[in-house]
């Protein structure tokens, strides 16, 4: 019965292409997620890699990522929205907090926790600090960093639906509107779309990880 209703929902005229249809919600969802992940990567990766390279700041990073993980996105979202008003700034900042923790800790750990013997060997060969970073540490840390990025992606894609609780679009619209109207078909459809989206993005990143990983450590 639910399957028939779902089928009817997905195959209704305009379900995909109408304004507010699935393609638009999917595009919005990807846009919010992409924006947040790009900003978070720009902030967290260079910082984490640099601190890892210098082998400094483990304590503060652990404390910061721990606190960020404990902060509920809904709280940040509502507080920032009250302060900053409707728009993109508040939700992007709220999601940023979510995405920073896995990126920062994986970038730091990926570089800092490499076998010290490797660094010594590289330095003994006459590599400069810069060469060590770009030719040894980064390639070796890449799998872990990509793991952090995949983790952050899953979390952000799964949390973007909360933005619909305030006023934005994305697939969460179906969840929140479905909830307000007690329309289970719409909510189940949203869950299916969200799960498929997460799986597809994760598979894509796994492929990217394979392609980027140096053949020597595959």
């Amino acid at each position: 019965m639910i399957f028939e209703k779902l089928w009817a929902w997905f195959s209704a005229p305009g379900a995909w292409t109408a304004p507010g249809g699935i393609w638009q919600r999917l595009a919005e969802h990807l846009a919010y997620s992409g924006l947040v992940l790009a900003l978070a990567s720009l902030l967290a990766l260079p910082l984490g890699i640099w601190l890892g390279h210098r082998g400094r700041g483990e304590g503060p990073i652990l404390a910061l990522t721990g606190a960020l993980r404990a902060l509920p996105t809904l709280g940040l979202l509502t507080l920032l929205t009250l302060w900053l008003g409707l728009g993109l700034t508040a939700p992007v900042l709220a999601l940023l907090a979510l995405a920073l923790a896995p990126l920062l800790s994986s970038a730091y750990a990926g570089v800092a926790h490499l076998d010290p013997a490797l660094k010594q060997a590289a330095l003994a060969q006459g590599m400069t600090g810069r060469q060590l970073l770009f030719q040894v540490e980064l390639p070796l840390a890449l799998p872990l960093i990509m793991g952090g990025l995949r983790n952050a992606t899953l979390q952000v894609v799964a949390t973007v639906p909360l933005l619909a609780y305030i006023n934005l679009g994305g697939l969460g619209r179906y969840l929140i509107d479905g909830l307000a109207l007690r329309d289970y078909t719409r909510m189940v459809a949203a869950v299916l779309l969200l799960a498929l989206l997460a799986l597809a993005l994760d598979a894509l990143l796994a492929l990217a990880q394979r392609a980027l990983t140096s053949p020597g450590i595959r």
Binding site: T78, L82, A198, L199
Partner: protein, 221 residues
């Protein structure tokens, strides 16, 4: 801030509700994850022949519960009534959904914890005449505790934060302070919620770490 002073009883009450929703699922999820993870691991070397379906079984368990993780918490909360037949306002929805999340997180970390033990230890236990069950309870489980507790701490912090999403579907927790604060335009109320959730996470995490040290006295702190 005067709002906080005027609403201390409410804050206390919501903290208790939040605590219950954070801890019960953690315990349930952990208790369910342990046997599942052990099942996924299969027989260790030195515990007889490896079963043929093991890779399949492990893949099913690990990826199956991993799949839970791609479902947003909000979505799982609203779907629970459909699966359990509960009322949409029933607190059981949140308990069940959070138990599933803890399960998803803990199966992975339990598996890692069990795998971290060298096979020689289990072979030694077998040589001493331990049955497989006894070896699990008296050797594998205690020696895996440090990693198990590390995994539990991660799940705990994530869970405390996730409980608040229940407020969106009308279930009372510290998350209620977020939704109510938004509607009534009271930033102090939201900040109180954020502060209390951080405090809960910090306190319970430290307690769990402490407990971890207590139950593994053989480790040098």
């Amino acid at each position: 801030m005067s709002w906080i002073a005027a609403n201390l009883p409410l804050l206390g009450q919501l903290t208790l509700l939040h605590l219950a929703q954070a801890i019960l699922p953690l315990i349930l999820g952990f208790l369910l994850a342990l046997p599942l993870a052990r099942l996924a691991l299969g027989r260790r070397q030195g515990q007889g022949r490896k079963s043929r379906g093991l890779a399949l079984r492990r893949g099913l368990i690990v990826n199956g519960v991993g799949l839970l993780y791609v479902i947003p918490s909000l979505a799982l909360f609203v779907l629970m009534p459909l699966i359990l037949g509960t009322s949409i306002t029933s607190p059981l929805n949140v308990y069940a959904a959070l138990t599933l999340y803890v399960l998803a997180m803990m199966v992975r970390s339990c598996l890692d914890a069990f795998q971290s033990l060298p096979d020689q230890i289990l072979q030694a236990a077998q040589a001493l005449g331990y049955t497989r069950l006894r070896a699990f309870w008296q050797v594998e489980l205690p020696l895996s505790l440090p990693l198990l507790i590390a995994g539990l701490r991660v799940a705990l912090v994530a869970n405390i934060s996730m409980v608040s999403v229940g407020a969106v579907i009308g279930l009372q927790s510290l998350g209620t302070l977020f939704t109510d604060g938004l509607r009534r335009n009271i930033p102090a109320e939201i900040m109180a919620g954020l502060g209390l959730i951080l405090l809960l996470a910090l306190t319970l995490d430290s307690l769990l770490a402490l407990l971890g040290k207590k139950v593994t006295p053989w480790r040098v702190a």
